[in-house]
């Protein structure tokens, strides 16, 4: 069998290869290309793909590519009705970290609280120290208790500045539920405040 020479051929094989194995191989090979066209094809296929193994190969390639194009499209997965797609969206964003900072900044303003919560999870799970400012902004400004609580929890793990502690203390004044008070106190303890 001849080796596929170009991106279009690989995309075709990923979508319509003769068997799962050929489609997995094509999806993995596409991870060697960084263009927007490839990222779009991978994400599009991820959303309609029926084989979990091909989906996992696509996720693997998206993480390998790991650029801003991936971040832009992976964030769309957070809005999916499919729990698997939402989870891999968080995982991709958490893993590619730095490339996703701009996207994170934009998405914490998203009108859907569930999307905002998943963005916070991605920052926290990725332990992205560069995104601490974004977490702090959520703690200071978000109106949704659960979103803020998640941000406080992660800020307790990866934050550390006086500003972080101050933001958490202010949030403790905004949300009075026992749950929130507990999460806030634990975070402050971790930060030594």
């Amino acid at each position: 069998m001849q080796e596929p020479q170009n991106i279009n051929e690989l995309i075709r094989l990923m979508k319509n290869g003769r068997n799962e194995s050929e489609r997995i191989a094509a999806a993995l090979d596409l991870g060697n290309f960084k263009s927007k066209e490839v990222v779009e094809a991978l994400v599009e296929q991820l959303c309609i793909e029926t084989s979990r193994a091909v989906q996992e190969s696509i996720v693997s390639s998206l993480i390998k590519i790991g650029n801003e194009n991936v971040a832009e499209l992976a964030v769309e997965l957070l809005k999916s009705d499919d729990a698997y797609l939402r989870n891999v969206g968080v995982e991709i964003l958490a893993t590619i970290g730095d490339s996703a900072l701009e996207v994170f900044e934009r998405m914490i303003m998203h009108p859907d609280k569930d999307v905002r919560q998943l963005v916070v999870n991605a920052i926290g799970e990725g332990q992205l120290k560069e995104a601490v400012m974004i977490l702090r902004k959520v703690v200071e400004e978000d109106e949704e208790e659960n979103v803020v609580a998640a941000a406080v929890e992660y800020l307790g793990e990866i934050g550390g500045s006086e500003e972080d502690k101050k933001a958490i203390k202010q949030a403790l004044n905004r949300f009075s539920s026992p749950f929130f008070q507990y999460v806030g106190e634990v975070a402050l303890k971790k930060l030594g405040g």
Partner: protein
């Protein structure tokens, strides 16, 4: 080696192999790097690292990897998994082979280190298939570390390494050589040892049609993204319904959902 230098080296090794050393492994890495610097006559890390990166032969990288990936093991390690393989998984495979009119069982010991695992598997295969004439089998044993592979091929082990081998098996498959035990030639010839980087896409695609993969306590050296990639390669390497054994503290479900978890009496095993 400073913390910054450690990170540079760590990232370089990760890009080349997928093996990821956490910060807490810094002193482990530092000790081994210093041994390599001493052996090669480099007095400072900077010049050693420059040489390492631009050495076109790749020999020093291999030597360093050899020093970093030595994994002490022994025969019949995690016995309950081997019992599961011998008494529960293998009969299923035999039944399937007969239905498919197929004669060959292929097993892969991935990350075989100094060979204790593949030889243990060979002993089990010999014992379990003693009265089975219509089935042939072979074991592929791979590791990234060329030094351990040399030891594995030699098949010479200390008393400590063979301490869990039942006496009857010791008599049949090992012979005493001074303070050591050597594996009998009949067992050695059933195993094909060779070097393989589990992150090498080209080489991994050559690994196909395995009925069982043993990859115990190997993926712990990889980061999440590399683990998923290797798991996909394993999926591709297995026949439909093939099995994969991981170390007792490892979970494939945490890496990828593509394998089914099978609960046997003696152990949990993942299946394609």
């Amino acid at each position: 080696m400073t913390a910054e230098e450690f990170i540079k080296l760590r990232d370089f090794i990760y890009r080349k192999t997928g093996i990821y050393f956490e910060e807490q492994k810094m002193y482990y890495v530092k000790n081994r790097v210093e041994s390599r610097m001493e052996a090669t006559g480099y007095e400072n890390f900077r010049s050693y690292f420059t040489w390492l990166r631009f050495d076109v032969t790749g020999q020093e990288l291999q030597q360093l990897l050899n020093a970093l990936t030595i994994n002490e093991t022994y025969f019949f390690r995690e016995y309950y998994q081997l019992k599961c393989f011998a008494e529960e998984v293998l009969p299923e495979i035999l039944e399937r082979k007969r239905k498919e009119n197929s004669r060959k069982i292929r097993i892969w010991s991935a990350g075989c280190s100094t060979g204790e695992e593949p030889y243990t598997l060979a002993i089990i295969m010999k014992e379990m298939l003693e009265d089975v004439d219509d089935i042939d089998w072979e074991i592929y044993a791979t590791d990234i570390n060329t030094e351990v592979l040399q030891k594995a091929e030699r098949g010479l082990y200390s008393q400590r390494a063979v301490r869990l081998v039942p006496e009857e098996y010791k008599k049949r498959y090992l012979y005493k050589k001074g303070d050591f035990y050597e594996v009998i030639p009949d067992l050695k010839e059933k195993i094909i040892f060779f070097q393989l980087n589990l992150m090498d896409a080209v080489e991994m695609r050559k690994m196909r049609n395995f009925d069982v993969i043993f990859c115990r306590n190997v993926l712990i050296y990889f980061d999440d993204a590399s683990r998923r990639q290797v798991a996909i390669y394993f999926y591709e390497a297995l026949v439909e319904g093939g099995y994969i054994f991981l170390g007792h503290s490892e979970s494939m479900s945490r890496i990828t959902p593509i394998f089914k978890l099978r609960k046997f009496k003696n152990a949990f095993v993942y299946q394609k």
